[in-house]
Amino acid sequence: MTRPTDEQRRGMLVDMVTARVQAQRLWNLQRQGRVGTLAPIDGHEAAIVGAVHALDPDHDWVIPQYREPLALRRYGTEVLDRFLLYNIGHPAGGHLPAPLRVLPNQISLATQLPHAVGLAKGLTLQHDSGVVLVFFGDGSSSEGDFYEAGNFAGVLGVPVIFLCLNNQWAISTPTHLQTAAESFAAKAAAFGFPGVRVDGNDAGAVYDAVDTARDRARAGSGPTLIEATLYRLGAHTTADDPTRYVPPEDLEAARRDDPVDRLREELVALGLWDDAVNAEVEAEALDIFDDAFERACAMPLSDDAMLDHCLAEDTQRMARQRERLLADTGGAGG
């Protein structure tokens, strides 16, 4: 048991509050039509922030699904920059430059889990002590990829942590239609490594679970599956209308256990947080965000960017397509 220190918890709250207000800003931009469809983070902050605070950004890898980026501040502001490019539909949004140990969002559910296993195996083969933390949702756990990845990870004994954010919903599908298993953590029995369930609204508890799993992984004892239980407080995405299927009383109950409020109250009680600090953190978060968004919108895009980075070298046909594209757009290559 390695509960985070108060200082660490304060750092977590900064990241959580930051994520919360930036998410709000992003939602507004979406409503103004300035960014595309996106999946709000509300309710997931403690689990994500708690988890990544147990990692070492210089060594450990983070593989998100798609809700996580705003809460990855610990990995540097570049993550936000790229996430905003991603949200405006700029191709550079998929490029998280080295040495950042973070992957771009994954849209094809659960496909990131086999990647995590291969990456973890690759690290051990290269005597790199890093650990791979991979996020996935309760819904994604139903894909074959989850099981194939878990099973192979178990056999290989690689340093990977499978972190299931069980937010009770996969779009409109509640967990009891997703699985009859006792819990998502229980699925680890199929893989032969530990599965643990933690309160995902408690950043410290998640920190603790990830820290333990990380120690285990670094000791060469293999993977851990962690299920963080929480509640999706917002819509599935900006295109979703949750009032069609989320029971209002459940949502109400969940709101009363808002993870950001919970940690904030704890730290306020400890005298480590107050309204002034809160306002300052929020203001800074928005400044950083607005600044990043401005830069994202100003990011240049060459007329033939579409043809870049498909292959290391253009094929004969791509070379011609590039010519035609540039002729059509009257542009020059970039």
């Binding site: 539909g89 094809s108 139903s142 779009i171 997703q178 699985t179 299927y245």
Partner: protein, 321 residues
């Protein structure tokens, strides 16, 4: 077009109680696009099933349901996620009749939205005709009008063979038009002349038909007579209709959203050459996406063939003396 689809599903389910609808979010939510709206309320949870997020088991259990004598109508939430089920679709669904010598009738329908133009995330817009078009035993249709969306879906559901119905994302709300009331069936495997004309024929399917028609209308003002042949079916391919159109016009443009190399458009060109070579007055021209994966939002408008690119291709084949 969405209403037409929803109407067809309601009517078919009422007509045939062997029909079971299954897929992700199709029941309580009525589908992420509301295509299955109201079915759950009307036909209940036994016949309208929200599945776990497992495209493989959606397709695979459809095979089992068909073996039991039921008529599954499965939704793949976005066609790009059919890759997750390809071992079942290509390896099992398409072969059920063949490998059991018709012991089992694979009366199975898949519906899946696809195609670009609405700034979706990765894989949501991908066109898989190149993959699906080479799977004998499987039928693949792609309506371009609201009426066909209804008529092809109803026909697909009643067809004794498995059919994938590709629904254009952009058409869900973007394509409107008259839809015949009541029973309306469009035979699978029959192309449709969407615009008459005899200078050149543009062969297309799905949303590209809409664009081709606009091009035809536009060029008509210049006195050009551009026929538009809406394939409607990728498989079975209406070889005779392709032959007729190519022979009548002598000049052919084929347009599709997928990447050029290996796209289904190549099959169409090959068919034109096999059937109507001696009528051709110019090389067949393909219009298509570029040879890259379907790109992100800021690039997609340039990726998808638009009216200008189709019109330019039409002019190009017409320029040849």
């Amino acid at each position: 077009m969405l209403d037409a689809i929803n109407e067809a599903l309601h009517a078919e389910m009422a007509r045939d109680d062997r029909i079971v609808v299954l897929g992700e979010d199709v029941a309580r939510n009525g589908g992420v696009f509301r295509a299955t709206e109201g079915l759950f309320e009307k036909f209940g949870e036994e016949r309208v099933i929200d599945t776990p997020i497992s495209e493989g088991v959606i397709a695979g259990s459809a095979v089992g349901l068909a073996m039991a004598g039921l008529v599954p109508v499965a939704e793949i939430q976005f066609l790009g996620f059919a890759y997750q089920a390809m071992h079942q679709i290509a390896g099992q669904v398409a072969r059920l009749r063949y490998r059991t010598r018709s012991r089992f009738e694979p009366q199975i329908t898949f519906r899946a939205p696809f195609g670009g133009g609405v700034r979706t995330p990765e894989l949501h817009s991908d066109s898989l005709e190149g993959q699906l078009g080479n799977l004998p035993g499987l039928k693949v249709v792609a309506p371009a009008t609201a009426a066909d969306a209804k008529g092809l879906l109803a026909a697909a559901i009643r067809d004794p063979d498995p059919v994938v119905v590709l629904e254009p994302l952009r058409g869900y709300r973007g394509i409107r038009g008259e839809v015949p009331d009541g029973d309306h069936l469009v035979p699978l495997g029959s192309a449709r002349t969407a615009r008459p004309g005899d200078d050149v024929v543009v062969i297309a399917w799905s949303y590209q038909v809409e664009l081709a028609c606009r091009v035809s209308d536009r060029l008509a003002e210049e006195g050009l007579s551009v026929r538009v042949l809406d394939l409607r079916s990728i498989a079975p391919l209406d070889v005779a209709a392709i032959a007729d159109a190519a022979e009548a016009c002598g000049r052919v443009v084929v347009t599709e959203e997928a990447a050029q190399t290996g796209g289904f458009g190549g099959e169409v060109v090959a068919t034109v050459v096999e059937e109507a070579f001696w009528s051709l007055e110019a090389p067949v021209v393909r219009v298509s996406g570029y040879d890259v994966p379907y790109p992100v939002g800021m690039l997609e408008e340039r990726y998808i063939p638009d009216e200008d690119r189709i019109a330019a291709a039409v002019r190009r084949v017409l320029e040849v003396a």
